[in-house]
């Protein structure tokens, strides 16, 4: 039992830092492959939608961006819960590394939604339950980033930000079920475990694009996390050794 693989070892920044660095290129490569496959299937192969013509193709980025905006928030809230419960150093760093990407995904969801809404509904924006709750999600991301940036002490910033994340998590089921709970202009979900309303190529194109966005988000968040780790741990031996051997910042 002594040699058992220990997952907790990676909760330490000293071991997580090199691991993340080694994994980033793979996530980038996988993201590109999924993206190219998804674009090929979605933009070149998938048939025209019988109701929305070719305009429906916005779905191939709108849905992945919306999913990621909600999923990243849930992951951040998960890290916040771990951080508040066990006082782990890594959790706050991971939450901070994810926040800007989550905010960008929420922004992309709203922007592509507006570009889809204009030709289909005749309006860029309506105060519909789905749209409004997604806008609140964007504000939660911005609020989290502003709050943590305003507190100088990193550990206290993590605690305050973590509380905000946990309180705001109530918004996620509201976004997700808004099209069921209220009579919204926004269409219902396209993917259903029992029966999907989409053609197979459309569905696969969307799922591949979702995987592309997912892998992209992991890659960018890990890049950001590594910088945050180095900055916060710069007094430790591992970070000093890393800085002395590092050539990335050369020439500045």
């Amino acid at each position: 039992m002594k040699d058992r693989f220990n997952l907790y070892r990676f909760a330490s920044p000293a071991t997580f830092y090199p691991l993340a660095g080694a994994l980033i290129p793979y996530f980038v490569a996988v993201s590109v492959v999924f993206g190219l496959a998804g674009l090929w299937l979605g933009m070149l192969v998938a048939p025209t939608d019988f109701q929305q013509g070719e305009g429906y193709r916005i779905i191939f980025i709108h849905v992945p961006a919306s999913w990621m905006s909600m999923f990243i928030y849930l992951v951040m809230a998960g890290w916040a819960a771990i951080g508040l419960a066990f006082n782990t150093r890594l959790s706050g760093m991971m939450a901070q590394a994810l926040a800007p990407t989550g905010a960008l995904m929420a922004f992309l969801s709203l922007l592509t939604g507006a570009l889809w809404g204009k030709p289909m509904w005749g309006a860029w924006w309506v105060w519909d339950a789905r749209l409004t709750s997604e806008l609140i999600l964007l504000f939660l991301y911005i609020g989290y980033m502003a709050l943590t940036a305003a507190i100088d002490d990193a550990r206290r910033a993590d605690k305050a930000g973590g509380l905000l994340l946990l309180v705001g998590v109530v918004n996620i089921p509201i976004i997700y079920f808004s099209v069921k709970w209220w009579n919204t202009l926004h269409q219902g979900s396209s993917v259903n475990l029992a029966k999907s309303s989409m053609a197979t190529t459309m569905l696969w194109g969307m799922l591949l694009m979702a995987m592309c966005f997912w892998m992209y988000s992991i890659a960018v968040a890990l890049m950001r996390a590594r910088t945050i780790m180095l900055e916060r741990e710069c007094h430790t031996d591992w970070a000093r050794a890393e800085l002395l051997g590092n050539t990335e910042g050369a020439g500045k």
Binding site: M43, A46, T227, G249, A250
Partner: protein, 62 residues
């Protein structure tokens, strides 16, 4: 296999070209810029931390 008859059909997107390509364009732009910003931020942070570290070791040596 390919759904489109011509390249101009593909660009026109059945009259939705502006909306479809607008969405894809902004998304591509953001996904290109975000990693650049992140890696530039990483470089400046590393350079700053190195300067700090050098200054500290110089002070303790004296």
């Amino acid at each position: 296999m390919i759904h489109w008859n011509s390249f101009s059909d593909f660009i026109a997107m059945g009259g939705y070209g502006l909306y479809v390509w607008g969405s894809f364009g902004v998304t591509a732009l953001i996904m290109a810029i975000e990693p650049i910003v992140v890696s530039r931020n990483r470089k400046t942070t590393i350079a700053r931390l190195k300067r700090q570290l050098r200054a500290e070791t110089r002070n303790t040596a004296e």
